[in-house]
């Protein structure tokens, strides 16, 4: 306990404010505040733990796969060491010692049934490796020296320089190969270079994803703005009814909505049938509105429209009609009153809606897959393909990381231009 005395105002004779128990008021307040903070932290702790465990860690783990490459060292450790002394550009095959180390590694891998996994990994760099590893399987485990001849007897590909260059190149525990592949580049014996023109696809798909997402965001804004305005300015009764119409598709399954667009848009579909019936087009000239970019834009605009309307509506709801009335009474015409007075107040809603729609659009894949044909698919369709079909998770992770980076970059640019404080969700 402090020995100093305090007067009736809590200020002690040394001039410091003190609490009833004599501790300086500042410290006591800080302690109370800290306790408060700790308590609120404890309250959100379960949520934080949940998000970290189920969201952040898996994402981090997935992203790490884009550079992870431990499999080569784990499966053929002796070979990796032995290959260090081999000069890949020497034009000569690795020495007998390398082959001997490889045979030992291979026999062990075969016993653990991991040799085919390594083959699959190396196949990403050089087509044919997975077949080579599978084929060599048991034969290679029973080899007797000399191993070099033995391996070449099993398959002449073991006698090719490229095979060993690929293994050596893939040896380090981390790789940039997936990221290079994700931007249509590759590392060959001649160093880093772009893939041949006719094999490039990802950069183009990134560009198309961005472009289509911007178009979709734009058309959502064009269609959503008037609707949100109506919702905000009609009588409560009517606007509630309209609101239900906006939300109704929201509650319908995504697949149902997408399939409905198929029925409407296809060449023998409702819209084309109607146009032919009223004679706008003839039977041979039916419009192609699906299985291309048009299909993707139409279907996705419809699906994402509520995400534009709702933030716009909630912002417009708060704009007092007296501003526009005041502008008009001061002599502004309808357009000026809208453009100079009303519109600027809705910008936060536009910002929120545009961000929501754009970010949702950029990662979409079911709708483009179903209605996009070949010209309307997104980068996410390729990511899904590599996750579930080709099982090249490293490449999928690299593509995903780049996509995430792009979104963050755009978010930053957006913040610089519009300002993130200017965004209002309601």
């Amino acid at each position: 306990m402090s020995s100093t005395t305090t007067d009736q105002f809590g200020a002690s004779d040394d001039g410091i404010m003190r609490a009833a128990d004599g501790t300086p008021l500042k410290r006591s307040l800080a302690r109370a505040l800290r306790r408060e903070k700790l308590r609120s932290f404890m309250l959100i702790l379960p949520l934080l733990a949940f998000i970290t465990l189920t969201f952040l860690l898996p994402i981090a783990d997935m992203l790490f796969r884009s550079v992870e490459n431990g499999i080569v060292q784990e499966t053929i450790p002796r070979t990796v060491v032995a290959l260090q002394d081999w000069d890949a550009s020497s034009g000569e095959l690795p020495s007998e010692e390398v082959f001997a180390a490889f045979q030992q590694d291979f026999a062990e891998a075969f016993k653990n049934k991991t040799h085919t996994r390594l083959g699959l990994r190396l196949n990403y760099d050089e087509p044919g490796m997975s077949g080579l590893f599978r084929k060599s399987g048991r034969k290679a485990t029973n080899l007797e020296p000399p191993y070099r001849e033995g391996f070449i007897d099993i398959d002449e590909d073991w006698g090719k320089l490229e095979t060993w260059r690929v293994i050596k190149r893939a040896s380090p525990p981390l790789t940039d190969g997936y990221f290079l592949a994700a931007v249509d580049a590759e590392r060959t014996t001649d160093g880093l270079q772009m893939k041949p023109e006719k094999e490039r696809i990802y950069l183009y798909l990134f560009w198309r994803t961005m472009f289509l997402s911007i178009v979709i965001t734009g058309s959502c804004l064009l269609l959503g703005y008037p609707i949100a305005y109506l919702l905000a300015n009609l009588t409560v009764r009517t606007s509630n009814l309209l609101m239900i119409l906006v939300l109704l598709p929201f509650w319908t399954s995504l697949l149902v909505r997408t399939s409905a667009w198929k029925v409407l848009l296809q060449q023998q579909g409702v819209i084309n049938d109607f146009l032919v019936w009223i004679g706008v087009i003839d039977d041979a000239g039916r419009l192609i509105m699906i299985n291309n970019q048009t299909g993707t834009i139409i279907a996705m605009t419809h699906i994402l429209l509520p995400f534009m309307i709702l933030p716009l509506f909630s912002v417009m709801k708060t704009i007092s009609p007296s501003y526009v009335r005041a502008a008009k009474s001061l002599g502004a015409n309808d357009w000026t009153a809208f453009w100079r007075v009303y519109f600027p107040q809705t910008v936060p809603g536009i910002g929120a809606g545009a961000i929501l729609v754009f970010i949702l659009a950029i990662g979409y894949y079911i709708t483009p897959e179903l209605v996009g044909g070949t010209s309307g698919i997104f980068i996410s369709n390729r990511i899904a393909y590599h996750i579930s079909t080709s099982l090249n998770w490293g490449l999928a992770a690299a593509l995903g990381t780049i996509l995430l980076g792009l979104v963050l970059l755009l978010f930053y640019v957006y913040d610089k231009i519009v300002g993130i404080d200017n965004v209002k969700l309601g």
Binding site: M129, S130, R134, K198, I201, Q268, G373, S388, L391, N392
Partner: protein, 375 residues
């Protein structure tokens, strides 16, 4: 050619109906009471339920849980394996997926003669299944094929109907949209065959860059007329809607459009591509679950059960000894023989999916194919 002989033998007497034989199941010791089976859903899974799992449950009281995840089985099994929690007991997988799962160490290697039943005449299972044993992890069920269906009422064709594979590439004689799978596999083979490459040389040609270019150049001639599908149900739907005049898909899907829905559609079997579909057992199952799986498999892949499945769907049994027992469709009452991909009339020209080649070149060729599609 061994495969061809086997397939022919398998179909030699489709028309005769075998007498059903009842059998006593041996007791299952230390077996789980429940089994989680992964399959494809739809008509195919229904045929498995009727032919395999319903009779088995009746006899043993085992509870079946079906998970319709086969088209993502490889990815999901890999994820389960990494998480160390395998919730599936038995997975229905296509040949290429089974090979892949085996390569990754996610599927268990099995000794077919040890766990599968022999044929009624005593032929060991490995001989009875023959060429369909494409991987040490694979337990075959059926032979299916990817082939073409076309609409029979297209006015612009002036009464002509496609009779050969290459009519797919003939847009003058057979105008209209076609549906092809959004994958290089099968399309490239078909394109090369119609560009004059002999069947025996296909994969040698495709191994070169020029070969792929040649195939893509051939596909270029119809690119504007193609709708690319990604789900097996797309082509039947597009055919029924009249969106396309011809398209490739699995033969069982076309059977259902033609025989069950009575659409004006017919089959073009020329150069159908054969594939196998079967079971794999995930690695790392606890003993009681593994015992149950083995016990079930012994029953579900015997000669009679495989023949029974063909009553519900037009896929051929993978066992040679099952073929004579295949009869009529259970509900429609039509002879299934002529609808089987393995019917001699249907397999004058065919290709067998070259799993080995594709497992090595898939990624590379797919990149080129997708780049070509995007252009």
């Amino acid at each position: 050619m061994k495969l061809r002989l086997m397939l022919l033998a398998a179909t030699a007497s489709f028309a005769t109906t075998g007498a059903a034989f009842t059998q006593e199941l041996p007791a299952c010791e230390n077996c789980a009471d429940e089994i989680t089976v992964v399959s494809w859903g739809g008509a195919y899974q229904a045929s498995q339920v009727k032919a395999y799992s319903d009779p088995y449950s009746e006899m043993t009281g085992t509870k079946f849980v079906y998970d319709e995840s086969s088209n993502e089985a490889v990815a999901k099994l890999r994820a389960m394996n990494e998480a160390g929690n395998i919730t599936w007991d038995l997975v229905d997988a296509e040949g290429p997926d089974a090979v892949r799962l085996c390569d990754e160490g996610l599927a268990m290697e099995v000794d077919v003669d040890e766990i599968l039943a022999e044929a009624p005449d005593g032929t060991p299972a490995s001989e009875d299944f023959g060429e369909s044993l494409i991987s040490p992890c694979f337990i075959p069920q059926i032979v299916f094929s990817t082939t073409f269906g076309y609409r029979t009422n297209v006015d612009e064709w002036n009464g002509a109907t496609p009779t050969s594979l290459c009519d797919i590439f003939d847009t003058e004689k057979f105008p209209g949209k076609r549906a092809l799978e959004k994958r290089p596999k099968k399309n490239l083979e078909w394109a090369l065959i119609c560009d004059g490459v002999a069947k025996a040389d296909l994969y040698d040609v495709m191994e070169t860059d020029e070969g792929i270019d040649q195939a893509l150049a051939k596909l270029d001639t119809i690119k504007d007329d193609v709708i690319w599908w990604s789900a097996g149900a797309d082509t039947p739907q597009l055919l029924a809607d009249g969106e396309i005049v011809m398209g490739s898909t699995y033969n069982g899907r076309l059977f259902s459009v033609i025989a069950e829905q009575n659409q004006p559609v017919a089959m073009l079997w020329d150069y159908q591509v054969f594939d196998f579909d079967g079971w794999i057992i995930p690695t790392g199952l606890p003993e009681d679950r593994l015992n149950r799986v083995k016990h079930f498999l012994h029953f579900a892949t015997d000669t009679q059960r495989l023949a029974d499945q063909a009553k519900y769907i037009s896929y051929g049994p993978a066992r040679a000894s099952s073929a004579p027992l295949v009869g009529k469709h259970a509900e429609l009452g039509i002879e299934m023989g002529p609808h089987m991909p393995t019917d001699p009339d249907n397999m004058k020209n065919f290709i067998v999916n070259n799993i080995d080649w594709w497992s090595s070149y898939q990624d590379d060729v797919d990149a080129k194919f997708q780049a070509w599609l995007a252009r």
